[in-house]
């Protein structure tokens, strides 16, 4: 069995203690290969956001295990010294809204991550330009964020998520504000990028338009995940 980009087993998250304790995640198991894009679907309150926060290392799980590219990063406690570096170097984030930094231009929004990782500015900007070219927004490289369309902003956000070549990208309803055509374009881009950069992408979504595009879907209900084969419909 090839090494998974991300592997989660027996993940639990309990908020509070004693009588007031709420078990948001009871038993989460996932395994996603490099270059694979999977959907994560579930009703409100099912634990999607909690799972995303645990995988994004912004909330500490209560128990279980998380491995990135075979390396254990969480096993009943974080196994990495610098959580911030873990988020910066090994996890990419794409949000419902692009949440680009408005005071940086397009290139520097993408280059900021490699710069934070200590790479020289020139090298970080070259990497950003490569990604912007791959995502077909290189012509807006010097533009301010406010000058971009919604679709362009989302592409820049995807470029930013890929900037440090993380093994995992967490996409939280990335197509929610987009119409069908643009939503499918974003999913197509995510699939292309996953293939090109061998990154595993988890797309949390309610969007009926894009659900048929996933080859594999994880349903989450009452804090438990259930795997299902998707339609994997062509774009």
């Amino acid at each position: 069995m090839p090494q998974a980009a991300i592997e989660i087993s027996g993940l639990r998250k309990v908020y509070g203690q004693g009588d007031t304790a709420v078990e948001a995640l009871k038993e989460v198991n996932m395994r996603i290969q490099p270059g694979e894009v999977v959907g994560l679907i579930g009703p409100s309150g099912s634990g999607k956001s909690t799972l995303l926060k645990c995988l994004g290392a912004v909330t500490e799980p209560t128990a279980g295990e998380i491995r990135f590219n075979g390396e254990t990063v969480y096993a009943n406690g974080w196994r990495v010294g610098d959580i911030r570096a873990l988020r910066r170097d090994r996890i990419g984030f794409v949000f419902q809204a692009p949440y680009l930094i408005p005071f940086l231009d397009v290139t520097d929004n993408v280059a900021l991550l490699p710069m934070l990782a200590g790479r020289p500015n020139a090298e970080a900007r070259a990497r950003a330009l490569d990604l912007l070219t791959a995502l077909d927004v290189a012509h807006r490289a010097r533009a301010q964020v406010s000058q971009l369309s919604g679709g362009e902003q989302q592409r820049v956000a995807i470029a930013r998520a890929l900037a440090n070549q993380p093994p995992v990208i967490l996409a939280d309803e990335p197509t929610a504000p987009l119409d069908s055509e643009r939503a499918l374009t974003v999913v197509r881009i995510l699939n292309q990028m996953a293939q090109q950069y061998r990154t595993a992408i988890i797309v949390v979504t309610h969007d009926e338009k894009i659900i048929p595009t996933f080859r594999r879907i994880y349903h989450i209900r009452d804090g438990r995940t259930y795997e299902e084969a998707g339609e994997g419909r062509a774009f």
């Binding site: 912004v58 949440y99 280059a111 900021l112 930013r160």
Partner: protein, 397 residues
């Protein structure tokens, strides 16, 4: 690594610069207040220096001509000239009053001097010194009088023959120098009705209007209308004599109060303007607190408007110190703009103040560091808020 603070400032530079301008005006007021205090002290020192006196001799147990009323006979200077160490001595009178200038009143301190003696202004900007015995004046330019202009003091008109500067009283009234005799008349001479009334009273007094003593009543009347008083005698000491020793001699042998320049400085600075200084000091403290509060609110509001960006920055791995540095740099940048604006406007509007405003480089340097310290301190609230932002806010849910 790029400067996040710099980029954020450039992104909304108009708002940032205008905020700095507003704060700068406040700092300009603060620097001006310090300048007003320095100006008062400097005015006092320049006044003492320009008068050319080493010792001020005044009525016993009084604080001198600028601080308290003092009355001396105008012949005392002759006996002072006989004391060892006294090179020159001259009478002087001081009276703050309204003088009439064509169709308006001007508030001045009228100083009676003996031309060529201690007490006259040290230098002139225009015109000449007093040469005639009567009806000439030298005015400080702050009085707004022009050379050749006439001013009315009591019953007489005086022609301004010279202009000087930096000769103002401790309350900021410009000085108008006139001949001593005229000043004595202006200060002590009664009006005609009062003189006639006085004469009638004397004549009606049988003890003073005695038969068989010819000339007595005339002598009494004459003594009442003559002005033989001055407020101070200004003394210059002979070379090689310490002013403190000469002053001590005067106190010992003449039963008068004698102040050296240092004593007079102490009286003017420590006593006369100390209340004003405390008032200004209090105002400075309040302005500093208000400035700190305003910077604090501005930086805090700027930070609150960026909570989502800060959450994203933290989520993608930005260190706390980078975020804190960004806020601190913005606060310091704001302080820098505000200081430059404040210093500039204070310099520009200082000459337009009715009283002298002295902006000392030392105050400016201290002000700069105070502004920077206040800005750094004010940014701590915003930094605390930023560091508390949960990166999870970027994810939502």
């Amino acid at each position: 690594m790029i400067s996040l603070a710099g980029r954020d400032i450039l992104h909304a530079w108009g708002k940032y610069v205008f905020t700095g301008l507003g704060l700068g005006l406040l700092i300009g007021v603060t620097l001006s207040m310090a300048g007003i205090y320095r100006g008062m002290v400097d005015d006092a020192k320049v006044l003492l220096r320009n008068s050319g006196a080493d010792i001020w001799v005044v009525q016993k147990d009084t604080l001198g001509p600028y601080a308290e009323p003092s009355s001396l006979h105008d012949d005392i200077y002759r006996s002072l000239l006989g004391l060892p160490g006294v090179a020159r001595a001259a009478n002087a009178t001081y009276l703050t009053m309204q003088v009439r200038r064509s169709d308006e009143d001007v508030r001045v301190m009228v100083v009676g001097i003996t031309p060529g003696q201690p007490g006259e202004p040290g230098y002139l900007l225009a015109g000449r010194r007093l040469t005639r015995s009567h009806y000439e004046a030298i005015a400080d330019i702050k009085a707004g009088l022009a050379q050749g202009e006439k001013v009315r003091i009591r019953r007489n008109d005086y022609t301004v023959v010279g202009l000087t500067r930096r000769m103002v009283s401790s309350s900021g009234d410009p000085m108008l120098f006139i001949p001593l005799k005229d000043a004595q008349a202006a200060q002590f001479l009664k009006d005609n009705e009062a003189i006639r009334n006085d004469r009638a009273r004397t004549a009606a007094n049988p003890a003073l209007n005695r038969p068989g003593v010819p000339g007595l009543i005339e002598a009494i009347d004459a003594s009442k209308t003559e002005s033989r008083s001055v407020n101070a005698v200004l003394v210059q000491v002979a070379p090689g004599w310490p002013p403190a020793a000469v002053a001590e001699n005067i106190r010992r042998w003449k039963y008068l109060q004698a102040y050296t320049v240092a004593d007079m400085e102490d009286i003017l600075v420590s006593k006369l303007i100390s209340t004003s200084a405390r008032q200004i000091g209090m105002f400075l403290v309040i302005l500093a607190i208000v400035s700190a509060a305003i910077v604090s609110f501005i930086i805090y509001t700027m930070t609150l408007s960026k909570v989502r960006e800060i959450a994203v920055l933290k989520l993608i791995g930005t260190r706390n110190r980078t975020i804190a540095g960004m806020i601190l740099q913005q606060a310091l940048g704001l302080g820098l703009i505000a200081f430059v604006v404040g210093k500039t406007v204070a310099t520009l509007w200082a000459p337009h103040f009715p009283k002298y405003v002295l902006l000392e480089p030392g105050d400016a340097i201290r002000g700069f560091f105070a502004v920077m310290a206040i800005c750094a301190l004010a940014s701590t609230l915003a930094i605390r808020t930023a560091l508390k932002v949960d990166p999870a806010e970027a994810i939502g849910g």
